[in-house]
Symmetry: C2
């Protein structure tokens, strides 16, 4: 029943996922994981202005709290939960809420492992075609996937964003964050976006647990993508009517270490089902399509 105090001085950066419950450098034996994390004397501290918040770690059994007859079980339940208070960019007094149904339980229910298949490439390189084909193939195997399509999200979640550099970065960041939630929910999340800049893609990769970000590069020559021009956008870009179009007057940075690269073979594109098969084989091999 002896409390142990340790300061948490640096919240984890956003792209590295939920904040650590235990600050780095504090070694705690596994049997001594804290039962609760409580802001240190919030009543005596100005949490809205302090640069750093500090926390108390409670290693004993659930800490007794002043009881209130009307609280009933809820209070007891709440007092047994883990809380973490941190100071983020614009948000103070935000607590991290742990839930007893975790990713591992959802994965067991679905008999698959949550991950993100991130399809990147030029407009017209076949990203959506692969995404749909992959989704169909996974569905036929009884696996649950969901497509986050860059264009579709710009009708909803990202409708406030344009195509300025910072808007593009924010667009990718939000898709990355949502993909992370879907992966955490146990789904195979298929994100299909041009996502032209390496650092934005890498930031999304860094959000996810090791090996559960699978980058698929649609490595198709610009000439081919432009000749397809299913949306008529290359023509507009060449005519100068769209500015900052990837591949024309804005760069596409090729992945350096992607997990899967899709290319033409002898000048012919593999069929969509074959492309999907390549990704499904990868997922199978890495154990994403079942749980042990």
């Amino acid at each position: 029943m002896r409390p142990c105090f340790a300061p948490l001085r640096r919240p984890k950066p956003w792209h590295q996922g939920p904040p650590d419950l235990i600050p780095k450098g504090v070694l705690i034996p596994q049997q001594k994981q804290p039962r609760a994390i409580i802001p240190s004397s919030p009543q005596s501290e100005d949490a809205t202005s302090s640069k750093y918040n500090t926390f108390s770690f409670w290693f004993g059994p659930p800490k007794p709290r002043p009881s209130c007859s009307s609280l009933g079980q809820i209070s007891k339940h709440l007092s047994e939960k883990y809380y973490l208070m941190s100071t983020l960019n614009n948000s103070t007094n935000i607590f991290w809420q742990e839930c007893p149904v975790r990713k591992v339980e959802r994965q067991k229910l679905l008999n698959q492992k949550g991950c993100v298949v991130w399809i990147t490439g030029l407009s017209g390189s076949g990203k959506s075609t692969l995404a749909c084909s992959l989704s169909r193939e996974l569905h036929s195997k009884g696996k649950l996937s969901y497509i986050l399509d860059g264009d579709n999200l710009r009708h909803g979640l990202n409708k406030d964003l344009g195509f300025k550099a910072e808007d593009r970065a924010e667009n990718i960041r939000r898709v990355g964050e949502v993909a992370k939630l879907f992966s955490d929910a146990g789904l195979i999340c298929i994100a299909s976006l041009i996502s032209p800049y390496r650092k934005d893609r890498d930031a999304c990769r860094a959000m996810l647990p090791d090996a559960s970000f699978i980058e698929v590069f649609m490595n198709m020559p610009l000439e081919l993508c432009e000749s397809r021009d299913a949306k008529g956008l290359y023509k507009l870009a060449r005519a100068g009517k769209i500015k900052g179009f990837t591949g024309i007057d804005d760069p596409y940075e090729r992945p350096l270490n992607c997990e899967i690269e899709i290319e033409q073979k002898d000048g012919v594109c593999p069929k969509p089902a074959a492309l999907a098969g390549q990704v499904v084989s990868y997922l199978e091999e890495k154990g994403f399509l079942q749980v042990e």
Copy 2:
């Protein structure tokens, strides 16, 4: 093989979901649903400056396109897809991408119907407790749910937002958009946020298909919530160290027509399992826990 042209003058507002494939006022017999929607002569139109875009609707069999030997099956597949081009606030040249694995197929796989359980109420009213308990209860029935916790999302997707009025509205909007995606994926999405303003909650309701937004009001007296004060925030708010705290110096607008209201009974809060049971019964009764 005779094409039929009809203009689409007003894209659907963002909160009403994906844009209609068929504009209002254009009556089309069911057997004549268009096979493709193609921007009208994009090469001859300045899509970046035109206020309205127009579209061609193709009612014949898949429209033949100029073939390219290297395109193979992908081109054929692409030419058979539905495209829709629209002009949004900041985003031009955005196409809507339809995918052959739809919500109904995912629901069949999961044997449940996607929906959003939106839990609203004061800080300390037991929203997270209900969310966790509900998630456990659904999991025990083999149903897939996922919790979107307002505080947790402020560590990720919404980390750039503070507590100004417009940031709060944007916070709710984004959670609503993500909840909609989870619902579309077939999950029972449990959103747990104070969400104090009626119009923000109603905007989220309007995003979703009829009856699949289930608003749960944790109707607990302020005194009870404040006496719990598990996060120590009421104390800070009373001391004036947090400004704009819901229930203290910022209003909470009670729902007018929520689907479920949770209250004390004879001055005692029902146990978390009982609360969850109340929501599960509702979901069962409304047919969300199975597909026909």
